[in-house]
Subunit: 144 residues, 2 copies
Amino acid sequence: MKTPYLYEIEVEWTKDREGLLRSENLQTLGVSSPPEFHGRAGIWTPEHLFVASVNACFMLTFQAIAAIEKLQYSKFKSFATGKLERGERSFLFTEITLKPQLAITTHEDIEKARGILEKAERKCLVSNSIKTSIILEAEISVEL
Amino acid sequence: MKTPYLYEIEVEWTKDREGLLRSENLQTLGVSSPPEFHGRAGIWTPEHLFVASVNACFMLTFQAIAAIEKLQYSKFKSFATGKLERGERSFLFTEITLKPQLAITTHEDIEKARGILEKAERKCLVSNSIKTSIILEAEISVEL
């Protein structure tokens, strides 16, 4: 597959404020507006997909850089919170806070690990495609 | 729930270039890099989530405006293609093409429907949060 890479998604209205997201070879996913925008709770929303996209991109970019820089780690988890606020024209995501929890295997790697987390945030292709500010609050532990 | 609205997503590394996306009350979703970035095919990726977020937001914003403007329609489906290209610092989404297929119930509403589709693209809160250009190619049919 050559660049540009293309990603295709179909959405089809089913009922009320709900639909189905489909893409070749991917699990079909129900989608709805969130309850605060007249949708039904318990279903993925564009808002959750957006924050998920940033958080997953951050993790996978971290993994890619960690592999290149040969950082050893045993756990990675990241909590993302997206803040949606009224703008001039409409609502928009003004801020996403990423709180990664990373467990590395040696004390000596703490600063290297912190640098890779910061680089992952800057290099993430989704972060690079959005206007939203990203705040990074990393927690690094050592599991010997 | 008062503004700002907050959306929380956790991602946890499981194995290789894969993880799980979790959020309260939502179906847990596997996520991976796409094969072109060393991941495994057949799993949702940050790239697909990003395009899905834009496409679903477009549909649901269309529905919200159509309800206010009392537009009658019987079908709505939208095909989105996101184009990922190398930028100066890293890859980024330069363009998303949205091809909605809308079936309305009366000939007289064609221009009104077109206007609502265009407004939905402008008002969509995800579109407003991204740098990516959105190209809209609408197809409106009448099903009497």
